[in-house]
Amino acid sequence: MATTMPLELEDRLPVANRVRFWIAFRRNKIALVGAAIVIVMGVAAIFASVIAPYDPVEPHYTDRLVPPSAQYWLGTDELGRDIFSRLLYGARISLVIGFVAQSVAITIGVVLGAISGWYGGWVDDLVMRLTEVFLAIPGLMFLIVWVTIFEPSPISLFLALGLISWPSDARMMRSQVLSIKEMDYITAAKAIGVRTPRILFQHVLPNAIAPMIVLGTLGIAGVILLESTLSFLGLGVQIPNPSWGTMVDVGRNYLPTGKWWYATFPGLIIMITVLGFNFLGDGLRDALDPTQYN
């Protein structure tokens, strides 16, 4: 651990805090389970083309809707495509959208939250009203309208999901900055004439980042759920790309005829992935928050 960290950063983080974090994190079994799930999903997404036993898009009309078996572990869909392989490729869509959209949200949130908390006054008022506006608009409905305007391409989804998710990040960042602003080391930095951008990037940001990491992790879970819901409604990333939500949507047409595996496994994978990020985020929060040890 120590060797991989840049010297500069290592100097800035008090050693005791870092050690305490690792001890707390490792003791938290749920957090470890979450981390394991996230890592497995990540590996599945990256190496989908290596792991997948079948092509995710090419139809095999002779093997349509085959139940789970030794040949097709999770069965096949209405075009004879292997569901396990499609789930692996689907991991790419879900994880990439989750990470990128949440990065967009965190970036907007950190920048606006920091400005809002640091400068206060009318800037603060303006940003806070903006967060209220975006909190008030029902997210899923906003998304649905958005994709009819801009098409559900990955880039438009990144932006839309980011736009929906940033307000809570901005509020958390603001409250962080508000408390850090009053710290002695900030006063000291100001007193020796450090310029504002440098104070913000070198002193405020590193101290405010921990809760943002927690929010970001939990946020990925939320974004993955939203994306899958959009796909389920038939408005997400377009077929033939195997998106988990789309698979549940198409698969549910075969539920009444007893083809249970088609809709069940994609939904299960969505749940496990989201659960992984929630476990991880929760564990990080416990490990990073010293007030939890009472």
């Binding site: 903006l130 899923l140 409905m141 305007i149």
Partner: protein
Amino acid sequence: MIKYIIRRLLLVVPTLWGVFTVLFILAFLMPGDPLRAVLGEQYHRLDPEVIEEAREALGLNDPFHVRYIRFLGDMLTFDLGVSQIHNETVADIIGYRFPRTIQLMAGGMLVSLLIGIPAGIVSAEKQYTWIDHALMIFSLIGVSMPVFWQALLAQLVLTQDPFPIFPVAGYEEGAIRFMILPSLVLGTRLAATLARVTRSSMLEVKHEPYIVTAHAKGLRYRAVLLRHQLRNALIPVITVIGLDIGYLLGGSLVTETVFNWPGLGRAIVPAIQRRDTPVILGILVFGSFLFIIINLITDLIYAIVNPRIRYT
């Protein structure tokens, strides 16, 4: 106190204006020609001049700012316009559909309160025992489950042999058995959130001096737990409930789709497919308005029950 209430009331104005602006821009950018949508096949048979006149009369040729100001004016007079597809005002559509969505939201809310708050209390009382761990893991699972998938599973297991307990889908005026499954599905996530918030809030209050005092003066344990600890712990829970109204609205969209429930959510999906802009805009405006008003109310309740807020 009065000052706080007035300030909070005034803050609604810029927020509403912001919401109207964002939604108007979205609607303005919606592709598709409303006249073409209304006229369908006839569009091509009509004289282009007649169409141009109709456009002029409907104000569809006006520049952005003129339409924007007209839209704000409409909003101020609570005029949501007329559907371009059906011969109905948007207000009528909402008036018919919203009570049904409210019914579903109330069902979901009831489920979440009945499950979430007791679970949170038990979890806090048994902190760090296996019951606590199990409940919290369950609540994380509840938060992680996609609503649509849960709905499908519920239909798969509880509506056919060997457990044909509930109808698969549909709506019947006042029939409770049609309501149970969608309410359970809609309430699960909120129940999970409430359990977590209740737990941490109960734990926070537990060591407050007034709780210690209540125990010290010999009150029965249950009395302290429910009358002193829970009552104070519920304050943050109220805020969470207010913020989750937005989730319930979105969740009801999915629940209504799966369970064929004639609410607002089911109205917006076909409206989008047919580019019925007034209906889309109207439902979004209404949903946002609802969220703002409910959060205004929860903030005011918060201020009334919590003296620490009142004076800041």
